[in-house]
């Protein structure tokens, strides 16, 4: 029998909802604990471990100089690193602040005390240290997390689906929002969540990040036909994807700025 791999969870700037998804596994968590040695999980544990982590599961975005230093340390001590949840994989909702002037947004929230701050533009983990595995989603979809964890423990790659959320949405036989006059980010967003939101009557907000080669121009063209202001559309597209340069939308941003 192999020694149980040491697994640790770390969180950076995030809501910790993704860690909670682990606690929500229920008794399955105990089965998981059979095959791994959980050495750090701050949300529910006080223990510390100072050896090498076989698998470090990192939640949250990198947004302060302190974060940068800390993630580097974690990386040095980890054989495998999993970016866990949209905050970690693509910057997630934290990325929205990148659309603002950092000084201005600091002053807005903290007024006079803004000077106490150190903040950096939001970055996903892989832009700071190398990352082996990605579990997208806000929050992560538990079955996918288990699959990735399995791959990490076996040391084989996990391919994040590079197809649109629409694929799973159609598997689930949902009525497409576009047919009801509502826009949805499904067509440019990576599948893998089993079209969670659409199954529950809401639209896709793009939390899993964009497919590798989205047809952004074509997409904006489609969106334009639904009578929403361009500002709202762009804001929606960068709700999760602000850390990524929007190819098509970038142009429109420029246009807007020119006005």
């Amino acid at each position: 029998m192999m020694k149980a791999p040491k697994v640790a969870f770390f969180d950076f700037t995030c809501c910790e909802g993704c860690q909670l998804q682990v606690a929500n596994l229920g008794e399955l968590l105990l089965e998981l604990l059979d095959s791994i040695d959980l050495v750090e999980f701050r949300e529910t544990m006080s223990e510390r471990w100072d050896g090498v982590y076989d698998v470090a599961i990192v939640e949250g975005s990198i947004t302060t100089p302190h974060d940068v230093a800390r993630i580097r340390k974690i990386r040095e001590r980890s054989k495998t690193l999993i970016a866990y949840g949209s905050c970690a994989t693509i910057g997630g909702v934290n990325g929205m602040k990148n659309a603002f002037d950092l000084e201005e947004i600091k002053r807005y929230v903290y007024g006079e005390s803004a000077k106490f701050f150190e903040t950096l533009p939001t970055k996903p983990v892989h832009e700071v240290v190398p990352v082996e595995y990605f579990v997208h989603g806000c929050p992560v979809y538990q079955p996918e997390f288990l699959e990735v964890l399995k791959c990490a423990l076996l040391g084989i790659p996990y391919h994040v689906p590079d197809v649109a959320v629409c694929v799973e949405c159609k598997f689930n036989e949902n009525v497409c929002f576009y047919e009801r006059g509502i826009t949805c980010l499904g067509p440019i967003t990576r599948a893998g969540c089993n079209s969670w939101c659409i199954n529950n009557g809401n639209i896709c907000y793009g939390c899993r990040g964009m497919v590798s080669n989205p047809n952004e121009k074509g997409f904006l063209e489609v969106l334009r036909q639904y009578g929403i202001s361009l500002e709202f559309l762009l804001r929606r597209m960068d709700m999760y994807n602000a850390c990524r340069i929007l190819k098509g939308a970038g142009m429109v941003y420029e246009e807007k700025r020119a006005h």
């Binding site: 089965e31 694929v167 159609k170 036989e173 067509p187 080669n213």
Partner: protein
Amino acid sequence: MEYAVLPKSALGSFVDALRQYGKVIAPVAKSERHFAFEEVTDARDIALKYIPTILPPKKYFMPQYETLAEYDIREGQKLYPVVEVEHIVLFGVHTCDLAGIQCLDVVFSDRPKDLNYLVRRGYVTIIGLECNEYCDQYASCGLMGTFLPQGGYDLFFTDLGDYFFVHVGTQRGEDIVANFSLFQRAESRHFWDLQLLRAKKAEIFRPEVPVDRFLLPRMFQEGFEAKVWEDVGNRCLSCANCTNVCPTCYCFDVKDVMNLDLRTGKRIRVWDSCQNEPFAKIASGESFRAERSDRKRHRFNRKFSYPVKRYNRFFCTGCGRCSRVCMAKIDLKETIAQLARETGYLKV
């Protein structure tokens, strides 16, 4: 009895009686314009008038996720092939979808035969239902000639007001009729009613695009480099809705999923689509249909040209689903028309 009639008032008890042949599946309304094949326990839930369901009945022949084999890692590399089956009765299948099922039958009976499909196929009883009216602007069953029944069912129902005219297609259909006492022998007035309906339909169901259906394969070959592919390619978002809802698209991916016990698991096949970016990518990163235009052209050719060569039938059933579901509004008929214009096949 090859032809029978069933009073409409008997539909409820007929559906109840059908349950002895399996789970009864029929179109039900999801919204005013959206329908889905779902299990029904009450005939009143059946949408007798419906336009093509979101997903075609293929989901019962070739499910979205289908187990091919099971394994238990404690037993090494042994793999136990399985076929998941269930007796079902599909009630209310329109002619376009019957044609779709026939296409799948052809593909999966072609050697090497696909037993997962064929075994499951044997568990399904199909009761067709004639479309009396034209669905909507997206359909192209006029062009494809699929608005009349051409086999592929155990029973075929035509709604003729207060009764259904029923054509018996197979021995299984024959048994169903024999077992249910409310069927009556069809009489000449019934045939007369049917003929009237068909005559009326012949007026309404006309080729939607003025091209000769039998020249379509040639047109697609000649139009391989046509500009229309680039046009639709620019608009396409690669969401694969068109192929997922297509009654004749059957491409799939094979992968292993581990059960949550992390010991047992299964090898499954999942619907895949030639519209998806990674579909034709190989490990070196090269994709043989990297451009959306290549992929769109491939899809159309796989409906109107390649299968004609290989299986001698069109793989478009004219149901119109792909056009209905496309958020970029890429319309099958418009695309054909544009191609016909470019290649000179448009009849004037």
